[in-house]
């Protein structure tokens, strides 16, 4: 269909006569909008210009329109309103009864034009926005710390209640969680720590060999893995794997009002949902750390044998000399604390989910990022502490 068929017109002694035709429907709304705006602009042409004389009224003949929907009706209504604003009359002819009803409907809607606040891009405003963002982020950190403490408090209270009445503990739920976050994580944790142990050993041999210090590779692998890497790797893996799952679970329960339902039935969501999860992480993390450290030492040994040409007996012998129980304890002592931080953060973020799916995704991301950050901060604090007490 050509454009002219939709709307054509001519000026006739102060009257603009428009003839509409074809489909005045959603599909053609874009073209119609343009055409109408063009004609509207021409009615406003100044006296004395070369263009046609300005019209005092507009006549629209809809006799040739074969399809008409709310888009067409609204465009017509909009034309009427624009003309009225210029103190011009609009007369419509050739409109069948059924379409008249539609036009009437559109006449009643949109009465005060929707006004949008202008967004504005002035530099002052941009600076102010940037400052606001920073300010909000800072006060956000404070609020996070406060709510973290509050959650720790509630959890401790729930824990004490459970200690007084051990039968209230959700043992099945806890065992189920332990299976999920502990047992099922074993393969991937073993694999990753094994690989990291192997990589460290390989790098060690490659560089230490230049000084003929091959044997110290074992010291490095042993101490690094037991004190730092084992627990850090495991904590980061668990934060990504189980922390995100906790947030998503609690978040979707929050979205579907399941948590409210629990509350109204007289259950404490902290006791039923959060405590088992946090306790399970506290238990699972040392176990996984132990397994992970062993896998890393094994990986290191394998590389020492195959790449460094070091006999396994020598590797083990050297390991015995290089490490002692203290290194082992340093790693394992940190693990439960990291488990607790991951669990509490994950559950807290889950409870902050609001109605939308986007918010669920956002909280899950936040939970993982914050957990990993806190795990590293905690590790630093522990390093300072152990250095101070000479461990």
């Amino acid at each position: 269909m050509n454009k002219g068929a939709l709307l054509s017109g001519r000026f006739n002694e102060g009257t603009l006569e428009l003839v509409a035709g074809g489909s005045w429907t959603a599909v053609h709304a874009g073209e119609l909008e343009e055409l109408i705006d063009q004609w509207l602009a021409r009615t406003g042409a100044e006296n004395g210009e070369s263009g046609p004389s300005p019209a005092r009224q507009v006549r629209v003949d809809l006799g040739r329109v074969d399809e008409f929907d709310t888009y067409g009706a609204w465009l017509l209504e909009r034309l009427r309103r624009s003309l009225r604003a210029r103190e011009m009359e609009m007369h419509i002819t050739g409109l069948p009864g059924h379409e008249r009803e539609l036009l009437q409907t559109m006449h009643n809607v949109n009465q005060p034009m929707p006004t949008e606040g202008a967004p504005g891009h002035s530099p002052v405003r941009m600076i102010r926005n940037a400052m606001q963002t920073v300010g909000r982020a800072m006060s956000g950190i404070g609020a996070d710390l406060r709510s973290f403490n509050a959650m720790l408090g509630t959890l401790s209270a729930a824990f004490v209640r459970i200690l007084l009445q051990p039968r209230r503990f959700r043992l099945t739920s806890a065992v189920h969680q332990l299976d999920r976050v502990g047992w099922r994580a074993v393969p991937i944790i073993l694999l990753i720590t094994f690989l990291i142990g192997a990589i460290i050993a390989q790098q060690g041999f490659f560089h230490f060999r230049k000084f003929g210090a091959d044997i110290y590779v074992v010291d490095m692998v042993g101490i690094l893995v037991l004190r730092e890497l084992g627990v850090l790797l495991v904590a980061i893996m668990v934060a990504g794997r189980s922390g995100s799952a906790f947030t998503a679970e609690l978040g979707s329960m929050k979205m579907r009002e399941e948590i409210d339902a629990l509350k109204t039935m007289g259950f404490d969501p902290v006791e039923v949902l959060i405590l088992p999860r946090v306790l399970v992480l506290i238990v699972a993390l040392p176990m996984l750390t132990f397994l992970g450290s062993m896998a890393a030492l094994y990986g290191g040994g394998l590389v020492a044998w195959l790449y460094g040409g070091m006999d396994p007996d020598i590797y083990i012998e050297r390991l015995k000399e290089a490490i002692n129980l203290t290194h082992f304890k340093v790693g394992l002592i940190k693990a439960p604390f990291m488990g607790a931080v991951i669990g509490v953060l994950a559950c807290m973020e889950g409870l902050k989910v609001r109605g939308s799916a986007a918010s669920l995704g956002q909280q899950t991301t936040r939970s993982v990022v914050k957990s990993i950050f806190m795990v590293i901060v905690l590790d630093g604090l522990f390093a300072m502490f152990f250095a101070a007490i000479g461990m």
Binding site: E33, L102, V109, N110, G355
Partner: protein, 262 residues
């Protein structure tokens, strides 16, 4: 396309695994009517709608919409047809990350080349046509009440001025007064916009108030179609217990009285 049948299904079968939900179902929807689809819970009403819309694969049978067999047309034709359908899902299915206005404009942006101003005005018009206010447009779906969610879902279904509207239990979960208002709304819109409507419902009041014809779904097929009077005459056990049972609110008696008056 001279026929006045807007949608036709023949011998439609669909199911999950070895559970056949629809089993040789045939149904017509006439142009300009409101067809009410009833059936027990789990009878397959939603499955029927989803199969017609191509959201579930059919095992066998034919579906014709606007006189075109959906199996025999290419993707482009398919899209043109889809643009002429409006769909309102049982739970509303509003996009939770978009505002009400953005929800309504979603299809406009994709399909129409119109200015932002016209899109805004059209979205507000639709919102007002379903009985909401312009300033509800800025709300997030999570801030809406149940009735408002349904209205926004309807407004979104009407965004492109469809010819054929699918409604899955539009009044379920509403109180009787809101449900009544919603029924009136659907009727008014159907008249002004000249729509054909396929409406799944549980609500006898809606059936009584606004449907032109009723189709009863049982055992995977349509066991009966006709006006409310035909339902009351039927001997089918489910139809009987539904339309004449305790919860039917005396529809039969009401219909009788109405007939005597006229």
């Amino acid at each position: 396309m001279s026929s006045n049948i807007i949608m036709r299904t023949r011998d439609l079968s669909a199911g999950f695994g070895d559970h056949l939900v629809l089993n040789g179902l045939s149904l017509d929807v006439r142009r300009g009517e409101i067809l009410g689809v009833v059936g027990g819970s789990g009878a397959g009403k939603s499955v029927l709608m989803r199969t017609i819309l191509g959201l579930l694969p059919k095992r066998s049978g034919h579906i014709e919409i606007f006189g075109e067999d959906l199996d025999e047309i290419d993707d482009e034709r398919h899209q043109t047809i889809e643009r002429r359908l409006g769909i309102m899902f049982q739970q509303g299915a509003l996009f939770s990350s978009l505002t009400v206005l953005q929800n309504i404009q979603f299809q406009m942006r994709e399909n129409l080349h119109i200015s932002q101003r016209l899109a805004d005005e059209m979205a507000v018009s639709k919102l007002e046509m379903v009985g909401l206010q312009a300033d509800d447009g800025a709300k997030q779906p999570s801030e809406l009440s149940g009735g408002m969610t349904k209205r926004v879902a309807l407004a979104r279904a009407l965004a492109l001025d469809p010819e054929f509207l699918f409604l899955d239990e539009p009044t379920s979960g509403l109180d009787p007064i809101s449900a009544g208002e919603f029924d009136d709304l659907i009727r008014t819109l159907q008249k002004t916009l000249g729509l054909s409507v396929f409406m799944i419902t549980h609500d006898l009041e809606s059936l009584y108030a606004i449907t032109d014809r009723i189709a009863v779904l049982a055992d995977g097929r349509v066991v009966l179609t006709g006006a409310l009077e035909d339902m009351l005459k039927s001997d089918h056990p489910w139809v009987k217990s539904y339309f004449q049972g305790k919860r039917s609110g005396g529809i039969a008696a009401r219909l009788e009285r109405q007939k005597q008056r006229s």
